[in-house]
């Protein structure tokens, strides 16, 4: 029994995409509600009073906030199908460590690529490439970060793939040239319906960022 599942989200958010992928992997029916972040709904403010941010997962009226916490919640509640975290504690810890690394590094560094220029942008680019290479190293010979199967760290990282085009255009570089294995992994993930249906179109993301820069007055 699923109960009532609602997701408050914003279409370009890589964090919301994580939750969408997890719900799709588990084949859970849910209501998707698009938020206008310049005019947040009363429901969003009520369900996430601390951060007032998306995504918010609401299950039987109870809110779960923070995307990686939502993914773990979904994995724990619907534990009879498509497991995202493996049973082995050390493998779980490894997946959590690298998902946390993605959270600490990729969003902010990627953001600097389109928000900044000159030296600051160059430094961010250099560091982003280093971080992506570190992550790529974790793949080894496996098709997914979860090993043979798509798992928690795959879910945590793959949404950034639709933002890579934007990072590359602003940063004037090719992520595929720097991290070919990582891009091969991303393309492999995109062949999964749960991923293909959850990620936004990369050109739409780029357009969105162009508009956002104008709105924020960033050149």
């Amino acid at each position: 029994m699923e109960g009532e599942v609602v997701l408050l989200d914003f279409w370009p958010s890589m964090f919301g995409m994580r939750t969408r992928i997890a719900l799709a992997e588990k084949q859970i029916k849910y209501e998707y509600r698009e938020e206008d972040l310049r005019n947040k709904s009363a429901l969003l403010l009520q369900m996430n009073p601390v951060h007032k941010k998306i995504p918010v997962l609401i299950h039987n009226g109870k809110p779960i906030c923070e995307s990686l916490i939502q993914v773990q919640y979904i994995d724990e509640v619907w534990n009879d199908r498509a497991p995202l975290l493996p049973p082995n504690p050390y493998q779980r810890a490894t997946a959590r460590f690298w998902a946390d690394f993605v959270d600490k590094k990729i969003y902010d560094l990627g953001g600097k690529l389109w928000r900044t220029k000159g030296e600051e942008q160059e430094a961010a680019k250099k560091e982003l490439i280093e971080c992506l290479k570190l992550l790529e190293g974790q793949l080894g010979d496996n098709p997914y970060f979860g090993g043979k199967d798509f798992g928690f760290l795959d879910v945590a990282l793959v949404p950034f793939y639709c933002w890579f085009y934007t990072y590359e255009k602003f940063g004037r570089f090719s992520i595929e040239a720097e991290c070919p294995k990582l891009i091969a992994w991303a393309k492999r993930c995109m062949q999964k319906e749960s991923v293909a249906k959850s990620l936004a179109d990369q050109e739409k993301i780029y357009d969105f960022v162009l508009h956002l820069k104008k709105a924020l007055g960033i050149e």
Binding site: I69, Q72, A93
Partner: protein, 240 residues
Amino acid sequence: MKQMEYLFLFLEQNCVIANNMGEEVKLYKTWSTPFGLRVVWALKLKGIDYESIDEDLSNKSDLLLHYNPVYKKVPVLVHNGNPISESTVILEYIDDTWKQNPILSQDPVERARQRFWAKFNEEKLLPTIWAIFTTEGKDLEEAMAAWVENLKFVEEELKGKKLFGGEKMGLADLVFGWLANLIGIFEEVSGLKIVDERYPLLLTWMQVFSELPVIKETWPPHDKMITKYRALYEKYHPAK
């Protein structure tokens, strides 16, 4: 038969039988790090025997750099040769590995709640307290305002609860634990009032937490902490 009985009786009365016989557990930390202390509490709570290695962060050991090449930080837990870094990841690992005295509830909603507050502490409280400790003037005012906002949420969360985990301590209690020791030290060193009577539930929590058997005897030596943080404070607030 009688001899065996006496032997078992002797062992029961005289030895702490750890819950991890035959397994090697090492913890790399420093004498003062609150992040390492969280891991100490979790290990003690579960009765896990471990070897403690205190690092000198100005001269990190080769082993530490080998075990945590990404961040080169403490704490690092090494279990049967496998290293785990980042304190909250370590806490979940400990809970996954040793099932007695669970840190996280079985209920997914409760688990999500504990994890949420643990993240709140890391992303909101810690950077703000650091800003309060290290800044002055307008920056300090802004940091204090952010701190007050953050504490309002914490106070709200503690309503109707003895501990963040409810009746028993949980993940969020371990992660918030630093407050129960360091706030007093920061206040003594800086002369600032950081957690005042506007937060009675938090003040009570700090007391209750400190009195828990696992926590009681673990605080680093008070005088040593004052010396350390006084020196750090003076570094950021040079006498005019």
